[in-house]
Each structure stands twice: as structure tokens, then as C-alpha cells.
């Protein structure tokens, strides 16, 4: 025979302050849990989404980031003439060679940031379908014009449309703003690669990116290029290349988040234990009465356990709701793989919210078990006698 749920609900609402305090405490733990997941998830998906699985990126052998890579002009030309590359409508190969430098600029709050400045070709945008201009126009080749990613525009000083920015001793007009849908490109500044090379005093490119005509051709292309002793390059799937850059920091963030939430959960379980022990203690007589009425020990245990889980889930719900405003907030960090600034958004997903609630419920179950068992083990006569 089960004790009706209404009994638990009424008990929770009878000691409102205690219920709210305990639920909030557990809710905050869920909040931190979801918060760190959203942080790591946002960072990782920003980098992961940067690359496309149908693209391949060619960098120097031994480099882990574009910044430390070198691809000579003749090597780039030879890479771009490979047969596995998809064709643009005009019949030219869908490939681009790019120059990447880090430039120290000021954030809007005055602190310095290393911004990726990328020299690109006409094919660069075509290779990244996520990118489209949202303001202004594209830069014109050969002119001192640049376009900026929308997160760079939001965070870096003097990056509004029409502003001029100083790079390599020259003034560059910002003629357009592009949206790269939250990918790493959103934190970059783009200009004409052929103009950048002399201005930045760089005789070589950093990478070649190309679209494969057929995903299955990747292996053949890679084998041929990596075997060529004159080039000394490595070929990677673009998505894997960017995902690898996020791996260390994302793992660190997740590790920190997990460590913090697990330890903190212990604290919250202690709190739940206290609350439930007190609840059991103050209801000794009731428990005796329930037992005398013929309720089984099992149903007493279940009832108290349900009450505790209910309390914790209420907290988990609160905590989950509190993370919603965090969703979409932009923050930035240094991508340690490239030492460049990368802005990204907190990403609260439904599955994170669900995990947060489950996490809270588990805390409630753990915190409620021992007090519930104590309640169920009461001896009727003693329980009734106690004040």
C-alpha cells in the first residue's frame, strides 16, 4: 500500500523555508554542472564547427596549428593542381592558400588580445559555406580594405563598419562584417592574401584548404602529398584539424567542471541528509501512526525517498531554469593551440538540462536514502511515545 504523494507535497509545503533553502542549494549545484558543460560545449562546438568534413587542410609536417606552419608558393600551386579537388562553376579548382598572422590588438575594454589576421583568396568564402556577409561588402583585392568577423567586431576596439584599423604600419578600412555562425572565423580579420604577403613581410603561406570532389578521395590525396619530399606537408580533414585544437582546453574545462560539481554534490548531499534527517526526526509520531495504521516499512521508505527526490528535482528544475539566461552569452579565451583569441557562446542544450535534473534527482536519492531507512526502521511503540 503506497502512501499518497499528496502527503509528501503537503509536508514539503509545510516547511517552506527549509524546502526552498535545500532545493536552492541543490539547484545551484545543478546550475554549476550545466554552466561548466555549456562552457566546454560552446568552446568545443565553436572550433568543431569551424572545419567542414568535405574540406582538407594542408599544413607543414610537424605543425599543430596554422600559425607555426609554412607552405611555400610553389608547393601551394602544386597542391592546388591535384586531381581530387572539386571544381568551382568556372572550372577552376575549389582551393585556397592563406596567410595567417597573429596581431596584437586592444579589446574594447582595453586589454590586449591576439587576433588572427587571415589573408584569403576569392575561393576562401566559397570553401566555408557557413560564412556570409551581414554588413557592408567584401574587400576589393589589392586595396587596403578588410572584413571582420562579427565576434571580432563585437569585442575588438575600432572594428565597426567604416572604422580604420592599423595593421603592419598601414591603415585598413573595415568595409564589411561577416557572420561565420559562431565558428572560430568569427573572431578573425580577413584581407587580400596577395597584398598581405608583402605588407606583413611574409614570403610564404601558412596553409592550403581545398574541397574534395569525392570524400573517399581523401586517402589518395593525402598519401600522394605526404609522400612528396619537396613539400614536407601533412593533410588533414579540416573538421578534425580544428577539433584537435579544442581537445586540450575542452578536456580541461570538462575535467574542472566535473571535479567541482562532484565535490560540490557531496556537500549538497550532506545538506539534503541534514534536511531529511530533521524531517524524519520531527515526524517520528506520524511515522509511528502510519505504521500502526498498517502501512508497510517499504512504503514508508519509499515515501520519504520520494519526498527527498521530489525536493532535489525541484532544485534541479530551478537550477536548470537559472542556466537559460546564460545560453548564448559570448565569452572569449585564448585558444592555447594557436595562442589566438577565440570568442564563443555558452551552449545550453536540452540534454544538458536533462542531465542537470537527473544529477539533482540522484543527489536527492542519495541524500534521502539513509534518513528514509531510519524512518522505516522505527519501532511503532517507541515512535508513538516520543514527543
Amino acid at each position: 500500500m503506497a502512501i499518497p504523494l499528496a502527503y509528501n507535497l503537503r509536508n514539503l509545503s509545510a516547511r517552506k523555508v527549509s524546502t526552498v533553502l535545500t532545493a536552492l542549494g541543490i539547484g545551484l549545484v545543478s546550475w554549476v554542472f550545466i554552466f561548466t558543460l555549456a562552457l566546454a560545449g560552446g568552446f568545443q562546438s565553436a572550433l568543431q564547427a569551424t572545419g567542414s568534413p568535405t574540406n582538407a587542410i594542408v599544413i607543414r609536417n610537424g605543425s599543430t596549428a596554422e600559425l607555426t606552419s609554412i607552405v611555400a608558393r610553389d608547393a601551394a600551386a602544386s597542391i592546388e593542381s591535384q586531381p581530387e579537388i572539386a571544381r568551382a562553376p568556372d572550372g577552376t579548382p575549389l582551393a585556397t592558400h592563406e596567410l595567417v598572422v597573429l596581431w596584437n590588438l586592444k579589446r574594447k575594454n582595453g586589454t590586449p588580445a591576439n587576433v588572427v589576421v587571415r589573408g584569403v583568396t576569392a575561393k576562401s568564402v566559397a570553401l566555408r559555406p557557413k560564412i556570409h556577409l551581414v554588413e557592408g561588402r567584401m574587400f576589393r583585392p589589392g586595396l587596403e580594405e578588410v572584413v571582420v568577423g562579427k565576434l571580432a567586431q563585437a569585442r575588438i576596439a575600432h572594428c565597426a563598419l567604416g572604422d580604420r584599423i592599423k595593421l603592419a604600419g598601414r591603415q585598413w578600412s573595415i568595409v564589411g562584417v561577416f557572420d561565420a555562425q559562431g565558428t572560430a572565423f568569427d573572431s578573425e580579420i580577413w584581407g587580400d592574401v596577395e597584398l598581405f604577403m608583402p605588407v606583413f613581410d611574409r614570403p610564404v603561406y601558412q596553409s592550403v584548404t581545398l574541397r574534395l570532389d569525392e570524400p573517399s578521395h581523401f586517402g589518395a590525396l593525402r598519401k600522394r602529398l605526404e609522400a612528396d619530399p619537396r613539400m614536407s606537408v601533412q593533410v588533414k580533414h579540416e573538421d578534425e584539424f580544428y577539433a584537435a585544437q579544442s581537445a586540450t582546453l575542452a578536456a580541461l574545462l570538462r575535467g574542472l567542471g566535473l571535479f567541482v560539481t562532484l565535490v560540490m554534490a557531496l556537500g549538497a548531499i550532506f545538506g539534503a541528509l541534514n534536511t531529511m534527517y530533521a524531517a524524519v526526526g520531527s515526524r517520528t509520531k506520524e511515522i509511528g501512526t502510519l505504521l500502526a495504521l498498517g502501512f508497510s516499512r517499504g512504503s514508508i521508505l519509499t515515501s520519504f525517498l520520494i519526498e527527498s527526490v521530489l525536493l532535489a528535482t525541484l532544485g534541479g528544475l530551478l537550477g536548470s531554469l537559472m542556466t537559460l539566461p546564460v545560453n548564448g552569452i559570448t565569452t572569449s579565451t585564448m585558444n592555447f593551440a594557436s595562442f589566438s583569441e577565440i570568442a564563443f557562446r555558452f551552449q545550453v542544450t536540452p540534454s544538458m538540462l536533462l542531465s542537470g535534473m537527473i544529477f539533482a534527482a540522484v543527489m536527492g536519492a542519495l541524500g534521502g536514502f539513509f534518513p528514509s531507512r531510519k524512518a522505516a526502521r522505527r519501532v511503532i511503540v517507541e515512535a508513538l511515545r516520543e514527543a
Binding site: W103, N104, V263, M264, M334
Partner: protein, 382 residues
Amino acid sequence: MKYLRLIVANLLRSKRRTFLTVFSIAIALFLFCTLRTVITSFEASLRASQATRLVVRHAASLVFPLPLAYRERLAQVPGVTGISYGNWFGGYYQDPKNQFAQFAMDVPTLLDLFPEVVLPTAQAEAFRSERTACIIGGALARKYGWKLGDQVPIIGTIFPGEWRFVVRGIYTGQTKDVDENTLFFHWDYLNESLPEGRRNFVGIYWLRIASPDLAASVSGRVDAIFENSPQPTKTETEKAFQAGFISMIGNVQLLLTIIGSAIVFAIMLVTINTMMMAARERTREIAVLKTLGFSDGLILRLVGGEALFLSLLGGALGCGLAALVFRESDFTAGGFFPNFRVLPETVLLGLLLAAIMGFLSGVAPAVQAARLEIASALRKVA
């Protein structure tokens, strides 16, 4: 003092509850100290930096090198009493995950300009006289089990290929803030191994100046010299350089502060609840004490003192545990935080926080107890 016994007796009333509360507070403070230490570890390089050292680099960013020829001109700037230089090597050991700092340094000037790198004389001599020699920090040696005479293979990402260095010295830091996770080797060795076109470039010059007061004037003079050259410089104190680097890491401080506050706040709510429950169960006893003539103020202090005592006990446990754990474990989070140790300031801050937590969690039940109407409280339970 005579009332302390009353407080202690009350805490021993429900040992389980006291234990659970003290430990949940200890956990909160342990986490607080840990998160705070993440922040202070980022800043360890600031504390280790010296006021008489300037850093000269390319104005654009560290990616662009400066010519070796700048050395002579820098040395002539008035106020400069010493100069060293080096390149960030950016390699890894076996797997890209095994990251630690490697610098190709001008060895003759390295130990002169960096007195915080402490090396036995014999080892310093061995390091100086062998082209492929390197020195490593004590923590790094412990981490990978490297000993004097070992060959250490490092895979270059900026300078491709596998580079082999012989460990000829293991340095210790002069203070605890000095990073002991760095490998230094000969800049000459790197330079000679490079193709013709990439030789004779320097990533960073370090200048020693006669007095910290000269920092601004020397920096200004250096940057003025090279202002219109193809490679303009940016000169700043070592501290400013490190601070710039830290600020690039972004909002980590804010994020950690948010998480830390949430933790402390959560546990505080739980503690408030516990203290209120404890006080409620003792309504009758408090009424008795009042009958005996205990004033409202004294009751307030007794109940509040109990919360304060509990919190401070938990705080001391949590902070102490954090200090101990991270001192004993050589924890670096995969090389991310080379100097992960809890500072005394962090412990003090933690205890202060615990006191505030105790105060806040004691206020409500203490006021409740002080306001208790004796007659009705005695009647209610009797």
C-alpha cells in the same frame, strides 16, 4: 570564554548533523581555495617577474621575430646593464598533449639575467660547454623521471623535426613562484640548425636595467629607435608582458569567480537551513535559558556563535585540506598550471569567507531565538 563550553556542548548534541554541516562547509571552502588557486597560478608568473627586467618583442605579436642585429643597439641604450635573448621553441615530448615550455636561450647570458634560475656551478659549466645540452626544472625532471645525462627528444612544431637534448642541469626556482617546468637549451644550436633564410632571428630580448625607475624611459627609448624600421618593437616590464599574456586568456577569472560564488552560496543556503532547524528544535531550551536570565543579546551571540564556530571549523578544514593536497601532489593539470599551490592569502580569504558564511547563516536563527517569547515557547512544547 565561559560560554564557549555551551556552544561546544550544543554542537555535540547531534554529532551527525554537526559532522555533515562542517564537512559541507569544508567542501565549499576546499573548492573555493582550488578555484582561487587556479587564478593565482595564472598569476604566478607576475609574482616571479622582476622589476628590473624588460621584455622586447615585435610590436605586432610574438609570432614575428626580431633581427639578431638589434642586440648591439639594445646594449648601448643608457640604463641597460645586461641583455639576453631567446626563442620560444614550441615543441612537445612524444605526444602533443605533453606540453611544457622550451626556450632556445643565449646561454652565456641566461644565468646572469635570470638569477631566479638556480643551478649548481658544475652543472652550469657542463651546460655552457656542450652545444646540445639543456637544463630542465626540478618539477619537469620529476614529472618525466629525467636525470642528468638523459637524452630528451623534443618534436618541434615551429622548428620541424625531432631535436635531441642532453640534460646537463636540473635547476630549482629561487622562490616558489618560479616556474620549474621549463627546458632551456642553446640558441646557437637552434640557429645553426636552421636553413639559411631563417637564421639570426630572435623572439624575445630581455634587458636588465639599473633601477626599476628607469623602466618607462628605457622602454620609450628602445621603441623609439626601431619605430620606423620594418620590425618595430614593443618594450615593457616583464610584469606588464606577463599581465598582457594573462589577460589574453580572457574571462577565466570571471568564470571561476562565478562558479566559486555559486558554490559558496549554495552551501551557505544549506547551512542556514541546518542552523534554523537546529535552533527550532531547541526552542524550549532557549526559553529556559531566558527564564534563567540570559538576555536576548546573549542568546543572539550564543546561537550566532555556534554558526560561526561551525563555519570556521569547516573553513579551516577545507582550506587546510586544499593547501595540503596541492602541496603534496605536484598537481599541474597536465602542465597547464606549473605552480599549483595554495597561497597563504587564499587560505586567509577562505577563512574570512567562512566567517562571513557563518555570520550570515547564524543571523536568521539567532534573531529568531533572541525574539522568542518565553511563556509561549514553554507552553507550546510542554
